[in-house]
């Protein structure tokens, strides 16, 4: 059986979680997949590896919303040559939330990674909101099955897009345990929060909580990565860091604090757990489902709750560390790949 994965909209370095998902899925299918796969790539993402690939230079992936829409428009008006490349595949999978190119096929599936715009529309520009609603809407309509990355995201899709429950399949993401494992570094006196400066990442509330924590824990620092806004005293903002540096931070942080207001999945808490870092984590969206009872959960809208959760973890980190490490071990990309294979098989039948 032949499975085609279309990654035409992949632009390296801008889409965070969805890029990790696409690359890791391709690699894991290459290791453990049971079928014959082909990944279709735009020229800008020619370095995706793990499966046989086919470059589609006529598709111009772009990093801006405007450029993305232009590229999709173009693919759809002059798309015959692009569509022809996908003929002969028994199953088509669109892992990046949008079906590009648009195909008429009984055996197509799209992974819609997050539905944040449905839950927190105030964080989106009008153009981005309209684009997501329309593009996700027709991708879902044209797909026989819709994949997503958590039960929470699946429920939102059923509720907001009106999809039938049996057409939506949650498949959890994995963790690369070759990268994320505990080292023997000693842990320092800092809290870690790796998150971009997006409003739903809730930095402002975390800063309030940190201001209350600091007088009681002199010497405690808060370290941010990927953030580019202004920061208060005692907060160190490292900007973009390499994956190696991030692993080192997970291994040396006193705790990970994760006050996000929305996640489709929530990989950082699991990555931290895999590195033996105790985790205090928001209790909204997919997060409780992902971290289970292995993180100290808190209500991210309450400063006091964040403070209390961090103090609990700091005062007795070992149980959290043990439970976390155990929890993370249950998430592997191989498992994710097997679950995809089961869906591909169902689509072909």
């Amino acid at each position: 059986m032949r499975v085609g994965l279309s990654l035409l909209t992949l632009v390296p370095g801008i889409s965070g979680g969805s890029e990790t998902y696409a690359r890791e899925l391709v690699r894991a299918l290459g290791r453990v997949g049971r079928f014959e796969y082909r990944a279709f790539l735009p020229s800008v993402a020619a370095d995706v590896d793990g499966l046989p690939v086919e470059l589609v230079p006529e598709y111009r992936a772009s990093r801006s919303t405007g450029g993305r829409i232009v590229a999709m428009t173009r693919a759809s008006i002059s798309g015959r040559s692009i569509n022809r490349r996908f003929e002969g595949q028994d199953v088509l999978h669109f892992p990046l939330s949008v079906m590009v190119p648009r195909v008429e096929s009984r055996s197509a599936t799209t992974t819609i990674l997050d539905v944040q715009h449905e839950l927190l529309p105030q964080f989106f520009s009008r153009a981005e909101l309209a684009y997501r609603r329309n593009a996700y809407g027709w991708s879902a309509r044209r797909s026989r099955l819709v994949l997503t990355i958590s039960r929470h995201a699946a429920e939102t899709l059923v509720e907001r897009l009106g999809l039938a429950e049996d057409r939506v399949r949650p498949i959890h993401l994995g963790i690369d345990h070759d990268v994320f494992w505990p080292g023997d570094e000693t842990r320092g006196e800092f809290l870690l929060y790796p998150a971009r400066s997006w409003p739903h990442k809730n930095h402002a509330r975390l800063f309030e909580a940190f201001a209350e924590l600091r007088p009681r824990h002199p010497g405690l620092e808060l370290v941010l990565t990927a953030y580019d806004g202004p920061v208060p005293d005692g907060v160190r903002s490292l900007g973009h860091v390499s994956r190696e540096d991030l692993v080192r931070l997970y291994r040396t942080a006193a705790a990970l604090v994760f006050p996000s207001l929305y996640e489709g999945f929530g990989q950082p808490p699991l990555e931290a757990m895999a590195c033996g870092c105790p985790v205090a984590c928001s209790n909204v969206a997919s997060l409780p489902e992902v971290v289970g009872d292995a993180a100290r959960l808190f209500d991210p809208s309450s400063t006091e709750e964040i403070v209390a959760a961090v103090e609990d973890v700091l005062s007795d980190p070992d149980p959290w560390r043990r439970r976390g490490f155990d929890r993370a071990a249950g998430f592997t990309w191989e498992k994710t790949a097997h679950a995809h294979d089961a869906v591909y098989e169902e689509l072909a039948s």
């Binding site: 772009s62 801006s64 405007g66 450029g67 829409i69 232009v70 999709m72 428009t73 173009r74 759809s76 008006i77 002059s78 648009r102 009008r126 153009a127 309209a130 684009y131 329309n134 593009a135 809407g137 027709w138």
Partner: protein, 355 residues
């Protein structure tokens, strides 16, 4: 400071957004001006200089439009003593229609209306594509200031033409509020789409959407205005081809239409949705290119590649007509040619300072 504005490549009657822009800009500048102007105009469009002093250039012997006329115009301008002496006195030359004619040694300001020739090259013949590549891309790449009509064009221009972000100014178009204003006409069961039949105007998908709407409302009509509509060939039931209509009649159509629809696949700005809003008409428009930033939250946005989505957008706009009317009027009020003109003067000053 003295500014020369070139409208030499104006082909009267094209009535596209760029002609409206050129004419409205020079008409608004006298009201706001702090600077001195001369406007270079072709002889057959000398009225385009509006209230500003004009320098007329004889019509070239060949070509009514297109690259041949541009070359002829360049030659006529080069030969014209009046143009040469004016060029010696100006501090900045503004190519309002992008094409850099007449040539000058002064710092230049170029208005870039879109980069469609690079974004959707398959919609252009080879000749027009290479003409635009040479004329547009070089003009902007050597300019001291580039004026674009939307954030969308700015983003595309920075990405595709590698311009210096510091010299690219976003200045939206205005709306002629004397012409486009709400009235008390009854709304009638027709949908209005004012657009020439360029491929990116997406008439075919609109027809599909319209056919499905008409099944439920057999009296519904679709009114098309704009030049060149004969090229669409025979039309589906209920679709009417009105062709070029005078501005006052277009304004009246906006006041009477149930919905103005704008399914274009590509726009650097897109005046019709705002004109409709200024007339109190509910708007359903494509979510592509500059359209969402121009419409704000005052229109229903749909996916123009999907006829089902176009049809749903029209129905939605029709059912929310009261709400959209209020939002549309407020939105359109923010766009005036006087404001556009004022911001052009700022760009002229920046260009002169820059070089």
């Amino acid at each position: 400071m003295r500014v020369g504005i070139s409208l030499l490549t104006l082909a009267p009657g094209d009535l596209g957004g760029s002609e409206t822009y050129a004419r409205q800009l020079v008409r608004a500048l006298p009201a706001v001006r702090k600077l001195d102007y001369t406007v270079f105009v072709p002889a057959r469009a000398k009225d385009a200089a509006g209230g500003l002093p004009a320098t007329e250039v004889a019509e070239p012997p060949v070509g009514r439009r297109g690259p041949a006329r541009v070359l002829g115009m360049a030659l006529s301008a080069f030969r014209s003593r009046a143009v040469r002496s004016e060029l010696e006195t100006v501090d900045v030359v503004h190519y309002a229609l992008t094409v850099p004619v007449p040539a000058t040694k002064a710092p230049t300001v170029v208005t870039l209306h879109d980069v469609q020739h690079r974004d959707l090259p398959e919609f252009f013949g080879r000749a027009r594509r290479s003409f635009r590549r040479i004329a547009y891309d070089r003009a902007t790449q050597s300019a001291s200031a580039v004026i674009v009509t939307s954030e969308f064009v700015r983003g595309r221009a920075l990405e595709l033409l590698e311009l210096d972000p510091a010299i690219v100014h976003v200045i939206p178009h205005g709306i002629n509020h004397t012409l486009f204003r709400p009235g008390d006409e009854e709304r009638e069961p027709f949908i209005l789409y004012p657009a020439r039949p360029w491929p990116h105007k997406n008439h075919a998908r609109l027809f599909e959407a319209f056919a499905s709407l008409r099944k439920k409302q057999p009296k519904l009509r679709l009114v098309l205005t704009g030049g060149g509509l004969e090229r669409l060939g025979s039309l589906p039931d209920g679709v009417e081809r009105w062709g070029v209509v005078p501005a006052a009649e277009l304004a009246s159509l906006y006041r009477r239409a149930a919905v103005t629809v704008f399914p274009s696949l590509y726009e650097g700005f897109g005046l019709p949705p705002l004109e409709a809003m200024a007339s109190g008409c509910p708007v359903a428009a494509a979510e592509t290119a500059a359209i969402p930033e121009v419409c704000g939250d005052a229109a229903v946005l749909f996916d123009p590649l999907d006829p089902e989505s176009i049809a749903a957008g029209i129905v939605d706009a029709d059912s929310r007509s009261e709400e959209l009317r209020e939002k549309g009027l407020a939105r359109a009020a923010a766009f005036t040619w006087n404001e556009t003109a004022r911001r052009h003067e700022d760009a002229y000053l920046a260009a002169a300072e820059n070089s």
